[in-house]
């Protein structure tokens, strides 16, 4: 069965893909097509959802719907960037540990375990606070706290593959070690890593939303977590301020998780239905 057939067999994954497609379109095109300003007051504060504001207005009279549409970009951007950086750290650490073994492995495993034990969210808060909130510091912080599961997975894959004959053959024929790691082993270990990476995007979006909820978001860009956090003091009177941006986060994360499960079915047929929860 082909990759696409296996993916399409998972109904949830198809739904997730469709939702994700729409969100990606919104993220790409909203700032290009729309001349609206999500920060601008357009009318009476705290107007319930209705004709003027489809999803209501916030305490400064800003349109919630505009905020949500513009917020898609930052959520996806941070989610993807953090997952990429996280995967780079995780795969490098895991590959080196699994491939070389011995004391290198010991040291790297200890470091990974340490990063997995520490309360990651508080560490992320500290990093963003100390590096001052912004796109870069948020991406760095999320990557620093999400790489350990990827490293563990990469290490396990590399350890098994290391003993396979094609790797031994490459070693004997004098191929350099970095080249073996990147060109021989990595392509064979890539499918579970892709699944894990896609799930990391979801985790990263959740973490970003929590950071901006606490007021640690990028101050120049509107984001869903920021919208909920900023309206926290009035959310009892104005439910729409927290409910709608929250729905945006949930749909995005849910869609990514579903796509991740579909990818898992398609890429690792022998592990069908056993997607790794982090």
């Amino acid at each position: 069965m082909s990759f696409f057939r296996r993916f399409a067999q998972n109904r949830g994954a198809l739904v997730g893909l469709a939702v994700l497609f729409v969100i990606v379109l919104i993220a790409i095109f909203t700032p290009m097509v729309s001349s609206a300003d999500p920060w601008k007051s357009l009318g009476r504060p705290l107007t319930p959802p209705g004709a003027q504001f489809p999803l209501g207005s916030d305490m400064l009279g800003r349109d919630v719907l505009t905020g949500i549409l513009f917020g898609a970009r930052i959520s996806l951007l941070i989610g993807i960037l953090s997952a990429v950086v996280s995967a780079l750290i995780g795969v490098t650490v895991g590959a080196v540990a699994g491939f070389f073994g011995g004391w290198v492995d010991d040291v790297l495993v200890r470091i990974t375990e340490f990063f997995q034990t520490i309360p990651s969210f508080i560490f992320a808060i500290l990093l963003v606070a100390i590096l001052t909130p912004g796109l870069t510091s948020i991406v760095v912080a999320i990557a620093v706290v999400t790489w350990p599961p990827i490293a563990r997975l990469a290490r396990a894959e590399f350890m098994t593959l290391r003993r396979r004959e094609f790797v031994e053959a490459a070693v004997l024929s004098g191929v350099s070690q970095p080249r073996i790691i990147v060109r021989e082993v990595l392509p064979n270990a890539i499918s579970p890593l892709i699944v894990m990476g896609s799930l990391t995007v979801a985790t990263a979006i959740l973490t970003e939303s929590a950071l901006s909820f606490l007021g640690l978001g990028d101050p120049n860009r509107i984001s869903w977590g920021y919208m909920i956090g900023a309206s926290r003091t009035v959310f009892r009177q104005a439910w729409w301020l927290s409910v709608f941006p929250g729905l945006a986060i949930v749909s995005t994360v849910l869609a990514i998780n579903l796509v991740g499960e579909g990818l898992n079915d398609a890429l690792n047929p022998h592990l069908k239905g056993r997607v790794g929860v982090q």
Partner: protein, 325 residues
């Protein structure tokens, strides 16, 4: 003797974690842009030169880096986490004041998740491919994708604002209640929503894990044997499948302890729960980094504590572990 070794092992682990976090904290402060003294003091002493000199002296900031590090590690190991320059109080005092509230919250959520999650997961696995199973899996998938603070806000909207059943914030009523029993009940009522909020995400995780793990175990030979010798199905499910299937879940719960303690920051902020998470939020808001570093250290120690708890559960569930070590 065996218990002594167990305790000693965890004391060593706690020590290593404290040491590592301390060194990490030390370098974090120096990663910040600008003068470490200003970072440590937050905005408290930005204008006061004499005050800044005091901070520099407290942390030995005028000495070479290795000396500074040694002094800092020495301070932390003697339980001196320095001053909160905002509150003008020792950080250690502030942390210990707030610790019981956080332990109550995270402990309740941890137990709630570890009991309810596997229970529901087992039920789903026993009724796999029924409406109950699918419905539960959809709910679990939903909570797995939901930001914790949003769950908290929705629970407040439903159960406090609309239904008026449970208090929306704080740990006890503003008007003190009389009698110990009433006080306990009062705190318990305040605990329900925050503990539920913090626990639901992990319930979702454990439901999914338990179901997968049980379905996998159910196909093993020894389970067929148990069925073949005529054991009733519920007995096979609980005594044979669940017990084995639980091991990866408990191990996983230990790994998740760090997330749980971190999640407490968000939950305590939403519910104004007077624990160290709320303290972290205030410290963040007031740029009181010395206090924030203290919260980080203490929460890491809490994770070690939860890991130890997990280890004890594991030994109860599987007597083979730690038998002869």
């Amino acid at each position: 003797m065996r218990h002594l070794g167990f305790v000693a092992g965890w004391v060593v682990k706690a020590f290593v974690v404290v040491l590592a976090i301390t060194i990490l904290n030390f370098f974090l402060i120096r990663m910040a842009p600008g003068d470490p003294a200003i970072v440590l003091a937050g905005e408290a002493g930005a204008a006061d030169e004499q005050f800044m000199a005091q901070v520099r002296q407290d942390f030995g900031l005028d000495k070479p880096l290795p000396v500074q590090l040694a002094a800092y590690v020495g301070n932390v190991l003697t339980l001196d986490l320095g001053q909160s320059y905002r509150a003008q109080r020792p950080v250690v005092d502030m942390l210990f004041e707030r610790l019981p509230a956080t332990l109550l919250l995270t402990g309740t959520a941890y137990l709630f998740a570890l009991i309810v999650g596997p229970l529901l997961g087992a039920l789903a696995a026993m009724r796999s491919r029924t409406v109950f199973d699918s419905a539960l899996m959809v709910v679990a998938l939903f909570f797995y994708a939901t930001p914790i603070f949003w769950v908290g806000l929705l629970l407040i909207l439903v159960f406090s604002v609309n239904l008026g059943w449970l208090p929306p914030f704080g740990m006890q009523s503003l008007i003190p209640v009389s009698g110990t029993l009433n006080h306990v009940l009062d705190v318990a009522r305040h605990l329900v929503l925050p503990a539920l909020t913090l626990g639901l995400f992990y319930v979702a995780v454990y439901v999914r894990l338990t179901r997968a793990s049980m379905l996998e175990t159910a196909s093993l030979d020894y389970v067929k044997t148990a069925r073949a010798k005529g054991l009733p199905e519920w007995r096979v499910a609980t005594a044979h499948i669940l017990r084995t299937a639980l091991l990866p879940i408990i191990t996983f719960a230990g790994l998740q302890a760090g997330h749980l303690v971190g999640g407490a920051v968000v939950v305590e902020t939403v519910f104004a729960w007077p624990g160290i998470g709320r303290l972290a939020f205030d410290a963040l808001f007031q740029r009181d980094y010395n206090l924030l570093l203290g919260v980080f250290l203490l929460s890491a120690l809490m994770v070690v504590f939860f890991n130890m708890l997990t280890d004890i559960f594991l030994r109860i569930a599987d007597p083979r572990i730690g038998g002869n070590s």
